[in-house]
């Protein structure tokens, strides 16, 4: 497959692995956080850890859009479908995130709520056009990658003069989350989470560019290498981080030059700026309230804001006590440190959000890597 297989070449991977092993100094460790769930997925799916030396540790970050969605927000979406009888449209994995009272969007659907899975934001708009007598709400989630499509459908809805279409906006911002992790007492003071560098987001960076990360590199003295989601991208980024750390550099480097520029996508950025504005604060699962970390719909487009239309009141709901998703999303714990991992909490019956999406740290480890926790005999 053109443009795909080149980035999954096993021989090349082994050559990069040899370089990493040669250059990683045995006397120190390299603790690297991959921010994005896309990277987490690639690392697990392609068995990248098997190719790395023991002193290069990968720490999963909070960059899985479904994982960071707090229970209260899912509860709100279910209320829209039940109390307000709206058609609620959303992206696939969101359907399975556990909400209050043992519900999820999928379980609410089975109980009669009209909840529909869409592949694209424009599908939600079409559903609104096809159902003029019904309220249709697009439950918008995701980082900077999925924000421009939401901006576009809000503008299209306005151009079409739709009166039955609104967006329940839950878009969140990557840089704010990285700052929050770097500012957390676990990283800053206690040193519980050794964090030497970041593999920077792939798709998010195609939109926002590499420039926003320069601040972290400079202010917190942590190198950032922006990398694509293919396994060779990840391998190459690890090598680049090892080199930066060896040379005492803390710079933003771009491995994903085929898609990311320093400035990003100006058109997408201006669309987002036209439709959305910063929220003062937003609750993230695992990170708690994070200041200026999410977007809401501007007053100009108030007619398409589900929060205004339905007067949605947000109630914060605590996670299940046994669930360690919070600590896992902050990099403080590993999936296997959680008591319910693989026992009560499985992809079929997720307790926490990290077990839901294939990009979640727990689901990725359970699905692809859990045999490593158990001894397996060869034939």
């Amino acid at each position: 497959m053109k443009y795909i297989e080149e980035f999954r070449d096993g021989d090349l991977a082994r050559r990069i692995a040899t370089r990493i092993r040669a250059e990683a100094r045995p006397e120190r460790s390299y603790n690297l956080m991959e921010f994005c769930g896309g990277h987490t997925h690639a690392i697990s799916r392609y068995g990248i850890k098997d190719l790395l030396p023991g002193n290069v540790n990968m720490i999963h970050g909070p960059g899985c859009p479904v994982c960071v969605l707090p229970i209260g927000r899912i509860d709100n979406a279910i209320e829209l479908a039940t109390s307000h009888s709206a058609i609620v449209c959303t992206y696939a994995d969101t359907m399975r995130v556990p909400a209050s009272n043992g519900l999820s969007l999928m379980k609410a659907k089975a109980r009669g709520a009209d909840i529909r899975m869409v592949y694209s934001a424009t599908d939600a708009l079409r559903i609104a056009q096809d159902n003029p007598a019904r309220e249709v709400v697009f439950f918008a989630i995701g980082f900077e990658t999925t924000t421009p499509p939401t901006a576009i459908i809000i503008r299209q809805a306005q151009a079409l003069g739709l009166t039955n279409f609104t967006v329940f906006c839950n878009h969140v911002l990557t840089p704010a989350a990285i700052t929050h992790i770097l500012e957390s007492p676990e990283v800053r003071e206690l040193g519980i989470v050794p964090l030497d560098g970041f593999i920077g987001p792939a798709h998010v960076s195609t939109v926002i560019g590499s420039q926003p990360y320069e601040y972290f590199a400079e202010e917190y003295q942590r190198p950032v290498v922006i990398a694509g989601f293919e396994p060779l991208d990840v391998m190459q980024a690890i090598l680049m981080l090892v080199r930066q750390l060896n040379e005492g550099r803390a710079e933003v480097e771009n491995e994903f030059t085929r898609a990311v520029t320093r400035e990003g996508n100006e058109k997408a950025k201006s669309l987002v700026a036209d439709v959305f504005e910063l929220r003062r604060s937003f609750e993230w699962r695992g990170l708690g309230e994070v200041p200026y970390s999410a977007l809401r719909i501007k007053e100009t487009y108030a007619a398409f804001d589900a929060e205004r239309r339905f007067g949605i009141a947000y109630r914060s709901v605590a996670d299940n006590k046994a669930c360690e998703c919070g600590a896992i999303l902050r990099g403080v714990k590993k999936p296997t440190d959680c008591k319910v991992f693989g026992t009560v909490c499985t992809p079929e019956n997720p307790i926490g959000s990290c077990m839901v999406s294939s990009e979640g740290a727990c689901a990725a480890h359970y699905t692809y890597g859990r045999f490593k926790d158990i001894e397996v005999r060869a034939a």
């Binding site: 497959m1 795909i4 999954r8 096993g10 991977a13 082994r14 692995a17 697990s44 799916r45 392609y46 068995g47 990248i48 850890k49 098997d50 190719l51 399975r96 869409v118 592949y119 694209s120 599908d123 396994p231 992809p347 079929e348 689901a363 359970y366 699905t367 692809y368 890597g369 859990r370 045999f371 158990i374 397996v376 005999r377 060869a378 034939a379």
Partner: protein, 349 residues
């Protein structure tokens, strides 16, 4: 006095007509639909008797029986339709015991309002598939449900077959050291269906691989009577079938990504849909497990049959009390090929 044409019955309007409740009501309309469509298409001595059952002589030995309900959407897709799929699916389930399929029974659930032209097309495709396979549909049933209570057409088929003496094929017989074979490229059917899904249409040249595999199975059993396990990886794909074998046999599996045949187009479609070809449905492929010393002979027998031309040895059975299916990735790492969580595609067979 004018002579009334009392023997004239207006034929069923297969051009513009639609299924209505009378077609399942047990009256004249139903009898007429059965006669003009089903009996004519499937035409055989058992249906000609007009009974609610079919009488046949039981051969000596062991018999197998399998049933399969088909609810695929869309009903017609590149490379086939629900009709031929219903024939192939059940023949394959019977054949996977190493058996020679003998007869089929078919139940149709029609939704009120369903176009008779489409029904005719599908039934004729089903009859052609049954004739080609040499496995007649010898009894059947038709029901009509009100509009909104079905999805056009559901077909359930049941088949019986006879297992040759000495053949012992079952999902619980895999042993550490055995070889795992696949009869050809995986994921073709699922991707062909996906390409037509609402909201998802994309252009592709991929066709469903739907086919009756009993001829291939007969050739395989003939060449290697010691085959331990056979199964067609339909819903859930290769990954699911291997997990089923692992659980039934209490063993693990190790497969090699680079040896699994996947069409470039299927890989590409899976890539942008976010699917894993290991879990995409097939309707004309089988997985076989046999002792290592017989693997090359089995591979040779498969490759000489047109439906097994793309066969490959993809891995081996390993001792593992946890029953993990593992895969050596083409990238060089190793990972679990787990049970599918939820469903990758809704309703594909």
């Amino acid at each position: 006095m004018t002579k009334g044409r009392s023997d004239y019955v207006r034929p069923v309007d297969f051009k513009h007509g639609r299924v209505d409740m009378t077609h399942g009501g047990g009256g004249r309309a139903m009898a007429q639909l059965i006669e003009e469509l089903f009996a004519r298409a499937f035409s055989n001595e058992w249906l000609a008797q007009g009974n609610d059952n079919a009488l046949f002589t039981v051969p000596a030995g062991r018999m197998v029986m399998a049933t399969d309900s088909h609810v695929v959407s869309p009903l017609e897709f590149p490379g086939g339709d629900i009709g031929c799929l219903a024939v192939h699916g059940t023949i394959n389930d019977v054949a996977m015991a190493g058996a020679r399929p003998l007869y089929l029974a078919a139940g149709f659930i029609l939704e009120e309002g369903f176009p008779l032209a489409t029904l005719k097309r599908i039934v004729e495709s089903m009859a052609a598939a049954s004739r080609e396979a040499g496995v007649p549909v010898i009894t059947g049933d038709t029901k009509v449900v009100e509009q909104g209570k079905g999805d056009g057409l559901f077909i359930t088929t049941t088949g019986i077959g006879v297992v040759p003496p000495g053949v012992e094929i079952s999902g619980d017989r895999a042993r550490a050291g055995d070889c795992i074979l696949v009869s050809g490229t995986i994921g073709d059917h699922g991707v062909a269906i996906m390409s037509l899904r609402e909201n998802l249409t994309f252009e592709t040249t991929i066709r469903s691989d739907t086919a009756a595999l009993h001829g291939l199975v007969a050739a395989m059993v003939d060449a290697v009577p010691t085959i331990r396990c056979l199964r067609d990886p339909t819903r859930g794909g290769l990954g699911t079938t291997l997990n089923e074998f692992a659980r039934q046999s209490g063993v693990g599996m190790l497969i090699h990504e680079s040896k699994i045949p996947v069409r470039a187009e299927v890989n590409a479609a899976c890539e942008f849909l976010g699917l894993d070809p290991l879990y995409v449905a097939n309707e004309g492929k089988l997985i076989a497990i046999c002792p290592p010393e017989d693997a090359d002979r089995l591979l040779g027998a498969m490759r000489t049959h047109p439906l097994g031309a793309g066969a490959a040895i993809i891995g081996e059975v390993v001792a593992d009390a946890h029953g993990f299916v593992q895969m050596e990735t083409s990238f060089g790492g190793r990972r679990v090929v787990d049970w599918l969580t939820g469903e990758q595609l809704p309703r594909i067979c």
